[in-house]
């Protein structure tokens, strides 16, 4: 991930860790209500310049409302939104240094690709000859030179998506909003376009805020991801931090696959806990736990399937080993997923790479196996 994010002059790009950095966008205690329905609930968030920021969540979580408030199509019921240090409350959409790429693309059907891209520039005070240069530059950036004269209904879905991107970037906005920009593309084209988007974001140095419900997309493109649920932000972090260190059960469950084991925590040392999950079983030993958990409180232990190792014999070098029975095997070619039932009925999923050919696999359905993992492999969650 790190080598695809834009780099400032030195070191890793992480202005959110820099106490002196001034955010480009600030949401301060923003609430938005539609009648009785609260779409955004007392939300505070900073987004920095040159970030590729993803708002991720299920439909109805408020992510689109946040984007529309940034664009100026909705005004907050309470709270303040600042862009570049300026309160946006009374600034209409046409005067904001913000452009938006719409989910439906919203290309003007009566205008050619060229005129669609030039539309915003013609509304600005840019001289005519410069407009032509700028449009040509945008056409080049999005590889649309050949289609400049066509109308939107005469090009493919992927090309339309690039016209929408070129049109929203033409005015060189401080902030580009992307509303589910890849939703209408098929899987393969979507993956290609994700890398194109990152490339363009890096080239232009624009701050991107993307709204998506696709967690893979958010993980791939974003410098930071905000996971939202019911009008609140559950967690804001870099993709690795959100994947490896989810702060709530909701986040752990929403991003990727996870095994959730409920138990009771007992502190055993600095950042170390034991989680008792079933009577008569050794507790799960957890180290490097960042959360402070009171002794005896109910917790959820979360661990990703690929962090688990399935073996016939109990491995000596791993502090945690749970004995169980293989119920199901999902073969995906490069990976296999094993569904192992622990005594007491708890199911865990373990994903292992198929390093050798399937005929050499030494366990099958109904086999007794050991599922083992390191003490630092999982996290303890209290919510």
């Amino acid at each position: 991930m790190a080598d695809t994010t834009p780099m400032p002059h030195e070191g890793i790009f992480a202005p959110w860790d820099d106490p002196d950095a001034v955010p480009l966008i600030r949401f301060r205690n923003v609430t938005k209500r539609f009648g009785d329905f609260t779409a955004i609930d007392d939300l505070t968030l900073d987004i920095y310049e040159r970030e590729f920021f993803a708002l991720l969540g299920p439909s109805g979580c408020g992510k689109t409302t946040m984007m529309r408030m940034l664009a100026g199509f909705e005004t907050p019921t309470e709270g303040v939104i600042e862009i570049g240090g300026r309160d946006m409350a009374r600034v209409p959409p046409n005067q904001r240094p913000v452009n938006m790429m719409f989910q439906s693309y919203a290309l003007f059907p009566h205008l050619s690709v060229y005129d669609n891209i030039a539309f915003g520039l013609k509304r600005s005070d840019m001289p005519k000859d410069q407009i032509a240069d700028r449009v040509a530059e945008m056409l080049r950036l999005t590889r649309l030179e050949k289609f400049a004269k066509r109308k939107p209904h005469m090009i493919s879905g992927g090309q339309r998506q690039r016209v929408a991107l070129a049109r929203s970037l033409a005015k060189a906005p401080k902030l580009l909003l992307l509303d589910e920009p890849l939703g209408a593309l098929d899987k393969k084209l979507r993956e290609e376009t994700q890398f194109e988007l990152m490339d363009i974001q890096e080239k232009t140095g624009t701050t991107f805020v993307i709204v998506t419900h696709d967690q893979e997309e958010a993980m791939t493109v974003a410098t930071r991801v905000a996971v939202m649920d019911a009008g609140r932000i559950e967690q804001v972090d870099t993709p690795p931090a959100i994947y490896e260190g989810p702060k709530t059960v909701y986040v752990a469950d929403f991003i990727g696959d996870v095994n959730l084991i409920e138990g009771t925590a007992t502190k055993t040392g600095e950042h170390a806990y034991d989680v008792a999950y079933a009577a008569g079983r050794d507790p799960i030993k957890v180290s490097e736990c960042m959360a402070e958990v009171a002794d005896g409180s109910a917790v959820t232990f979360a661990i990703r399937p690929e962090k688990l190792l399935v073996t016939r014999e109990r491995p000596e070098d791993r502090p945690n080993a749970l004995e169980g029975t293989i119920i199901d095997i999902g073969y995906l070619g490069n990976l296999s997923t094993y569904h192992v039932e622990l005594p007491g009925g708890q199911m865990v999923k373990a994903t292992m790479t198929n390093a050798s050919r399937i005929s050499r696999r030494d366990f099958t359905w109904e086999d007794k196996v050991w599922v083992s993992f390191r003490a630092s492999a999982g996290v303890v969650l209290t919510e």
């Binding site: 664009a71 100026g72 199509f73 209409p92 959409p93 046409n94 913000v98 452009n99 938006m100 719409f102 989910q103 439906s104 919203a106 003007f108 059907p109 009566h110 539309f119 915003g120 509304r123 600005s124 209904h153 049109r167 929203s168 005015k171």
Partner: protein, 296 residues
């Protein structure tokens, strides 16, 4: 065979209901006036055989069409109709556009009701509605009484029996024909296009002028033709509201038929009117076709 029979049915309707009557009108326009029933000659006598048919053809001539060019009443009436049709189509467009726009922007649950209100006048007789305009526009009519009562004017305005009254009557009558096609294009307009225009720096008005207006072009064209074509031949409204001042070809036609009982000249007037209308009708058809192509 089945297929031919299927095609034959609608075509035989067209032939019976449009082509045959039209051929009869053409035939009458080529005949001469006569004091008889029907009031023209020649009449085709089928019992005389081939010779009778040849005599019949030889008696037809273009005298009536030549006559139309000698009296300037006719071409003045055509021009006057054209002018009234163009002006009233434009006024109808200006009145109808805001109505259609308002309907298309109204909350979804109101739209069927609004649509209903636009169509509602069709439920009562057209003649009664035009007569009621007489009561409104007359010197002692409701409009003048109202304006005098609220002190806007001292003397009643002379509206009835002037071209103004004809325009009011035409715009009122044909308004739904303009509103409905406009509404159907405006309703289809994607609201995110306007947001995109605003996002790219347009004011509300610029967004309307650069996006909404050009995208409603098809509705504008359809509505204009739907109003222009029937207004060209309109006769009831100028007859009832326009008095003797307003010259329209529909009225001339009516007078030729019923006052002069000169069926051949009246038919010639009708044939020329139809020939004039073929141009806008063809243009209208092409617009419809283009629209279907663009949507398909």
């Amino acid at each position: 065979m089945k297929r031919i029979a299927l095609i034959l049915l609608p075509y035989s309707w067209l032939v019976a209901l449009f082509l045959v009557p039209f051929l009869i009108v053409i035939k009458i326009s080529l005949s001469d006036i006569a004091l008889a029933i029907p009031p023209y000659t020649p009449n085709l006598d089928l019992s005389a055989g081939w010779q009778g048919f040849k005599d019949f053809i030889s008696q037809l001539d273009f005298d009536n069409f030549v006559f139309l060019t000698t009296d300037d009443l006719y071409w003045k009436a055509y021009l006057s109709s054209l002018r009234i049709a163009v002006v009233s189509t434009l006024i109808t467009l200006l009145v109808a556009y805001p109505i259609a726009y308002g309907m298309a922007r109204a909350p979804e649950e109101w739209r069927p009701t609004l649509m209903m209100l636009v169509i509602l006048p069709f439920w009562s007789s057209f003649l009664i509605r035009v007569y009621s305009w007489k009561a409104i526009l007359a010197n002692e009519g409701l409009l003048n009484q109202l304006l005098i009562a609220i002190g806007v004017i001292d003397e009643p305005l002379l509206i009835l029996n002037t071209p103004t009254a004809v325009y009011i009557g035409i715009v009122y009558t044909y308004l739904p024909f303009m509103v409905l096609p406009l509404y159907s294009t405006l309703e289809k307009l994607d609201a995110s296009l306007l947001e995109a225009a605003e996002d790219l720096g347009c004011t509300r008005f610029q967004a309307f002028w650069l996006v909404t207006f050009p995208l409603s072009r098809n509705g504008i064209i359809a509505g204009c033709f739907l109003v222009f074509i029937p207004v060209m031949g309109e006769f009831v409204i100028p007859a009832l509201l326009g008095g003797s001042q307003t010259l329209m070809i529909g009225k001339v036609l009516w007078e030729e038929f019923f006052s002069n009982r000169d069926w051949p000249v009246a038919s010639a007037v009708a044939v020329i009117l139809l020939a004039l209308l073929v141009i806008p009708i063809v243009l209208f058809q092409r617009n419809e076709e283009k629209q279907r192509e663009a949507e398909g």
